[in-house]
C-alpha cells in the first residue's frame, strides 16, 4: 500500500505542475478556429433572416392567392338577374344592428324571432402571428449530402487501414504509426460514430403550423331538380374562399432503430371557409332538397361544403305539408356581411420518419396517415368584427382521413432539445362532406420544439 502511495506521489510531484511551452503555431490554429466559428455564426444569422423573409413572403403570397381567386363579389345586377322578382333583396343588411329588413314579409318574421337571440361576441381580429422561424436552405442540404459522402469514404478508408494493419500484425496494432491522412479520415469517422451514440430513443414535441388550403377536388352534388337553385348556388359559390387553416398539438416519437422513427400524437386542426355577400334563403314552405328535408319557415344558405342550417326558424309554422320542389316557395336575402364556416378536428396522426441526413442538423423524410375526428361544426355571421354563432353545416363527415408527406429538419438547441421545421403537404383521402366531393389539400410548415429522452 505504501509502495502504491509512493509511486503515485512520485508521478504527481513530477507532473502535476509540469509546465512546457507549447509550439507557437497552436495559438495561430486556435485563432483560426475562433475566426471560422464567428463566420459560421454570421452565416447562421443570415440564413435565419433569409428563411424568415421567405416564410413571410410565402404567408403573404398564400393569403394573396387564397384571397384573390374568390374575391369577385356579386353585383346588384347579377343578383337581380338570378333572383326572381317575387324575392326580396335587403339593400343593406344590418341584421345585427337593427334587425330591420325592407320587405314586409321578412320584416315580420324577423321581428317575431330575430336572428340575433344571443349576445354578440365581439372578437378582435386575430391576426396569425408568424413565428420567427427559420430552416436550412437547400444549399445546406447539398453541403450535408457532400459531407455524408465524405463520411462514407472515411468509413471505407478506415476499414482499409484496419484490415491492412490487422493482416500485418494484430498484436502490435496500437503501436503502429498511422499516417496523417488516415488520422484525418478516422477523425471524420469518429464524428460519425459519436453522433450515433448520443441519439435518444424517445422524443416529445409540441408543434404548430399555419396551412394554406391550396384547393380541392370540387364536384358539388347539387339537386338538379331545381335549376333556379342550381344557378343561384353556383353564383354563391363564387363568393366562397378558404380561411387560413392551422394545426397544433403534441406528438411522441419512438426511434425503432438509428434512422427510423414512428410518431403519433394528438393534434387540433382548424379549417374553414368564408362566404362573402351570403345569400340567405328563407324557406316559406317545406320541401326536399337532394333528399334532405328543408323545413318550412327555416333559413338555409347553400355552400360548396354543404347546406348551412340556421339555429333559428323564420317563424313558428303549422305548415307540415312538404312541397315537391322549392319553386315559388323560397325568398332569398343577400347580406353584405360574411358567413364563416368553421370545422375543428382532433387528429391522431401515425407518421413514419426516415432520417436521410444524420448530422448536427438532421433531415428526415416523413409520411403518414392522420384520421381527423370532427369535433366542432359551426357557422358564424360576421359583421363589423362582431361574430355570432348562427348554425351549422349540414352533411359533414365525422371522420376525415388525411395523408401527409413532408421533410423534417431538426436543429439541436442542446443535447435533449431541438427546434424542428417540417414543411408538409397534406391531402384528404375522403371528402369532408357527404354531399360534395371536397378533398382539401394544404401546405404548411410545422414548427415546434422537441425534447429527447431515453
Amino acid at each position: 500500500m505504501k509502495e502504491n502511495k509512493n509511486i503515485d506521489k512520485f508521478f504527481k510531484d513530477a507532473l502535476y505542475n509540469y509546465n512546457v511551452e507549447p509550439p507557437q503555431y497552436i495559438w495561430e490554429d486556435i485563432k483560426g478556429d475562433i475566426l471560422k466559428s464567428k463566420q459560421t455564426k454570421r452565416r447562421v444569422y443570415f440564413s435565419a433572416v433569409a428563411a424568415s423573409v421567405a416564410i413571410i413572403i410565402s404567408f403573404l403570397s398564400g393569403y394573396y392567392f387564397t384571397g384573390t381567386n374568390t374575391s369577385k363579389l356579386i353585383s346588384e345586377n347579377t343578383v337581380s338577374q338570378i333572383v326572381k322578382p317575387s324575392n326580396e333583396i335587403v339593400s343593406n343588411s344590418s341584421l345585427i344592428n337593427t334587425g330591420i329588413v325592407e320587405n314586409n314579409s321578412i320584416k315580420k318574421t324577423v321581428s317575431k324571432t330575430p336572428i340575433i337571440e344571443k349576445e354578440l361576441k365581439i372578437e378582435k381580429n386575430n391576426s396569425n402571428k408568424e413565428n420567427d422561424n427559420s430552416f436550412s436552405k437547400t444549399n445546406n442540404i447539398a453541403q450535408l449530402s457532400n459531407k455524408l459522402i465524405d463520411k462514407i469514404s472515411a468509413v471505407i478508408t478506415l476499414k482499409k487501414v484496419l484490415s491492412i494493419k490487422k493482416r500485418n500484425n494484430l498484436n502490435t496494432l496500437a503501436f503502429q504509426p498511422i499516417t496523417s491522412e488516415d488520422k484525418e479520415k478516422v477523425k471524420v469517422y469518429e464524428g460519425f460514430v459519436e453522433e450515433k451514440e448520443i441519439k435518444n430513443t424517445w422524443a416529445l414535441a409540441g408543434q404548430f403550423s399555419p396551412s394554406y388550403l391550396l384547393g380541392n377536388k370540387l364536384n358539388p352534388k347539387i339537386d338538379q331538380s331545381s335549376m333556379l337553385l342550381t344557378q343561384k348556388d353556383q353564383a354563391s359559390h363564387n363568393n366562397e374562399k378558404a380561411l387560413l387553416a392551422y394545426n397544433s398539438g403534441m406528438k411522441v416519437g419512438y426511434t425503432v432503430f438509428n434512422r427510423l422513427t414512428i410518431e403519433s400524437g394528438l393534434y387540433y386542426s382548424k379549417l374553414g371557409q368564408q362566404i362573402d355577400n351570403a345569400r340567405i334563403d328563407v324557406n316559406e314552405l317545406a320541401y326536399y332538397d337532394g333528399g334532405e328535408l328543408i323545413e318550412a319557415n327555416s333559413y338555409t344558405t347553400s355552400s360548396m361544403v354543404g347546406e348551412i342550417r340556421y339555429n333559428t326558424q323564420a317563424s313558428n309554422s303549422n305548415d307540415i305539408n312538404v312541397h315537391p320542389s322549392a319553386e315559388n316557395t323560397v325568398k332569398s336575402v343577400y347580406v353584405d356581411s360574411k358567413l364563416l364556416q368553421n370545422f375543428e378536428y382532433l387528429e391522431i396522426p401515425v407518421m413514419v420518419k426516415y432520417k436521410v441526413i444524420d448530422r448536427k442538423v438532421d433531415m428526415q423524410l416523413q409520411c403518414g396517415l392522420s384520421p381527423g375526428f370532427l369535433i366542432t361544426n359551426k357557422v358564424y355571421f360576421e359583421q363589423n368584427n362582431a361574430k355570432q354563432w348562427i348554425g351549422y353545416t349540414e352533411g359533414m363527415n365525422s371522420v376525415n382521413y388525411r395523408a401527409s408527406l413532408g421533410i423534417g429538419i431538426d436543429y439541436p438547441l442542446s443535447k435533449s432539445l431541438s427546434i424542428n421545421f417540417e414543411p408538409t403537404l397534406r391531402y384528404s383521402l375522403n371528402s369532408i362532406s357527404q354531399f360534395s366531393e371536397i378533398k382539401p389539400y394544404s401546405v404548411g410548415i410545422f414548427t415546434g420544439i422537441s425534447y429527447f429522452f431515453n
Binding site: 512520485f10 504527481k12 511551452e21
Partner: protein, 186 residues
Amino acid sequence: MEELNKIIKGCVAGKSVYQEKLYKLFAGKMYGVCLHYSKDSTEAEDILQEGFYKVLKNIKTFKNQGSFEGWIRRIMINTALEKYRKQKYLYLVNDIYEISEDLSFDEILSDIAAKDILKLIQELSPKYRMVFSMYAIEGYSHKEISDMLGITVGTSKSNLSRARAILQKRVKELFYPAKSQLKLAK
C-alpha cells in the same frame, strides 16, 4: 487575481487581445496536463488546441465558483477523455506485464527530469495512462473515473494496479538499474 478577472471579462466580450493573454497565461501548464494524457506531443497539441478553443467559446459559463485554473484543467482533461473514448477501439492489445520485484521508492533519486517521467506515462497503453493520470495525478476517485470513462469501478482499480506495476518496473529499470539488479541478485 484582478488581472485575471480583467482578462476573463475581456474574453467574455470576445476581445482577441485578452484571449491571447489568457492563452499565454495558461498554455504552458495546460500543455503539461495534456502531455500526460497523450501518447506523444502531437496528440497533446491536438488536445490543447481543441481544449483551449472550448475554454474561449464557453468562458461566459464560468461562474467564478472555484478556481479558474481548475476549470480550465477540467476542460483539458475532458477533451483528452473525449479523444480517448473516440480512439479506444483502435487499441486492441492488452498489456501484460509481470512484476516480481518489490523495491522501495524512497531510494529513487528525486532529481530525475520531469520529461523522463512523463515519457514513462506516455509509454503506457491509453487505458492505463488515463486511469493512472486521473487517479494518481489529478486525485479522482475510482467512482469518478468509472463514470467519466464509462467503465466499472473494478476495471478502474485493476487498470490502476497494472499501471502502477508497469511504472514501478520501468522506473527501477531506467533510473535505478544498479540497485534493482543488486536486490534481484540477493
